[in-house]
Amino acid sequence: MMKPGLAALGRGRRLLGEQLGRTAVAYAVLVVALLLTGIAYLYVNHDVEQRERARFEESTQATKRAVDRRMDTYIDATLDGRGLFAASEHVTREEWSSYVAGSELERRYPGIQAIAYAERVPLDKKGSFVERVRREGLSSYDLRPAGARYEYFPLTYVAPSDKANRPLLGYDFYADRVSRDAMEQARDTGLPRASGKVDLGKAGLSKQSGFLVYTPVYRHGAPDETTDERRQALQGFIVSVFRTDKLLGGIFRGEPGPRVDFEIFDGAEFTRANLLHDDDGVLHAGDASYDPRFEDMSTLEVAGRIWSLYFSTPPSFEPGWRSNLPLFVLFGGLAISLMLFGITWVLSNNRIHAERVGLELEAANEELENANRDLEETNRELEGANRELEAFSYSVSHDLRAPLRSIEGFSQILLEDYAEHLDDEGRGYLGRVRAASRRMALLIDDLLDLSRVTRTEMRRRSVDLSALARDISEELRKSQPERKVDFEIEADLVAEGDARLLRVALWNLLENAWKFTEKVPDPRIEFASTLREGRRVYRVTDNGAGFDQAYADKLFGAFQRLHSPEEFEGTGIGLATVARIVHRHGGEVWARGRVGEGAAFFFTLGR
């Protein structure tokens, strides 16, 4: 077996190990929860990013479609002019003006500054052409820029022919390289072709940038199937003058939805020189310090020209409620993780505490078992002592009485058979011998009673104390029929206890009262009870000799007498027997008395 100290040490070590084990569970929970939180955060973040990007891309697509659509409408408008030339061999200035006026440029195509017709004028016909236009009423008409070229394409008709557009008349964009490329492409393909970005200020307009769209017009009836045929048949161009500032303004007017900032560049390079449109007026493309949430690039073909589009999220790109989700998940997850950790921690600590209590309980149990074993041992010893006592009292009862009987018996025989040999004094002495032996016999009986009270096993049951008291009073009356004693016995006093022992106790109390009322004129003995603090208190009272209250405590000790044997006979053991019986029932006994005024004995019987 392990020594208690070592066992405790072992237990302590085990406990420590278990404590670490248990708190490790709490930490493990924390780590797992944090991991899950991290994963959830990344996932949600990714998801939200995806959705936002999708939203952004949707916006860019919508924007691009809108630009595309608008440009298509504009280009279509420029194509309409071709119908006029197809309808008549010669289009007059007036016809042109009314045609353009009919297309309501200002309202429907604000991006078009003017639609003009540029006639093909070979070098040799330059003079006659200028003559002819001047004859039509434009006296100051001239070809610009001046200089000798193989061919001229001066703007002949310009509509609307307002003051702002007047400088355009006679201007030859063919001289400009950017324009010439577009014109040649238009001529060769037969399709509208846009020029690169041009400075319209050079043509005499107020300083602004724009571009031109050329639609070739071929001579009436001339074949235009092949490139060569088209080059031969080319009569002139319908020139649409676009001003970029008004081209894409209000493109989203009346349309809801998320907006993106977009910039449009002519060609493939995102440079200010190529900038055609800037939605917010601040150039972002190519700005290294600009870091929008999303950006995207795209291209668009406009009348044979490649335009580059740059999209980016403006600061006002409304973050949807979802963009807060990752943070929410992160902080929520953190909070939950900490909570779980706390709960696990508390639970495992409780577990540890419970285990510690359990161990303490175990130790207490062990102690209790030890105490029990000790108790059992003591009990065995007591049983042995009891057996010895029993044997002793048996021999006292049997053997001690035998010589007494001899003493008493032979004294009597002496008195009977040898009376004449004794004088009165001798007979008196013999009488004393007899009395003494009788008293000793009583003493032995009472001692046996007393020891029996402690020795015998209690058999508890319901006992009718009133009936017992009546029985005893009858017995007492019979023992001295000449005495008249008034017994008052309360009816139906029933208690739990050992009937035989309770009888002995009541006998002693009533006999006591009987004895001590011998010398009063109207002896009265009462057995009754009262209820005090929930306990029933029984009492035997008499109006006899009483006793000095100062000695009340001594009453219940064995061999304690308050009266001389001559006064009242008795062995002084009766009340000790009563006390033992009452105590064995878990009760208490006490007495009240006054010399000459009677005595009262009270007792309880446990609960």
């Binding site: 009862s397 049997h398 009485r401 009987r405 008493e408």
Partner: protein, 163 residues
């Protein structure tokens, strides 16, 4: 029936009812003397056979040992039995009496100093007919013996057959 002269009984008293024997089983010579005196004082003249222990008593009753010559058909009318006896004690004697066909019905009065409840229970349990405690006061003892004589020797009808 004849009193048996050849039987060596330690003490005997002869009287009118000499055909009726009383067996007194008592080891204490004082008690023996006092009991015999009490019987005499009450005018009991029966032959009293005294056995001083259980073995002697059983020998007498079953006519064995020193009593082997005794007429085994002659049984005492009353047995006064002390409990505390040398060799075989009173209760054992009682037990053997009650388990033997010949002595099964003999009246047995336990006459003892003991007031122990266990002794009383055992005595009655083994079939004692009475249990009398010897009082210390000799006058009371004489009165008790008187009652016994009146009851067992005068009033009581012995069981029919053998005895």
């Amino acid at each position: 029936m004849q009193a048996l002269g050849k039987n060596r009984t330690p003490r005997r008293a002869r009287g009118e009812m000499k055909n009726k024997i009383i067996l007194l089983v008592e080891d204490n010579p004082d008690d023996e003397l006092l009991t015999l005196r009490a019987l005499k004082k009450n005018g009991v003249l029966n032959e009293v056979v005294v056995a001083h222990d259980g073995v002697e008593a059983l020998d007498y009753l079953f006519a064995s040992g020193p009593h082997s010559g005794r007429d085994a058909g002659l049984m005492p009318q009353l047995i006064l039995l002390d409990l505390k006896l040398p060799r075989v004690d009173g209760l054992e004697v009682l037990k053997r009496l009650r388990s033997d066909e010949r002595t099964r019905l003999l009246p047995v009065v336990i006459l003892t100093s003991s007031k122990e409840q266990q002794d009383m229970l055992d005595g009655y349990g083994l079939g004692a007919n009475s249990y009398v405690r010897k009082p210390v006061n000799f006058e009371q003892f004489v009165r008790a013996v008187e009652q016994l004589k009146l009851y067992w020797l005068v009033l009581n009808e012995a069981p029919p057959g053998g005895v």
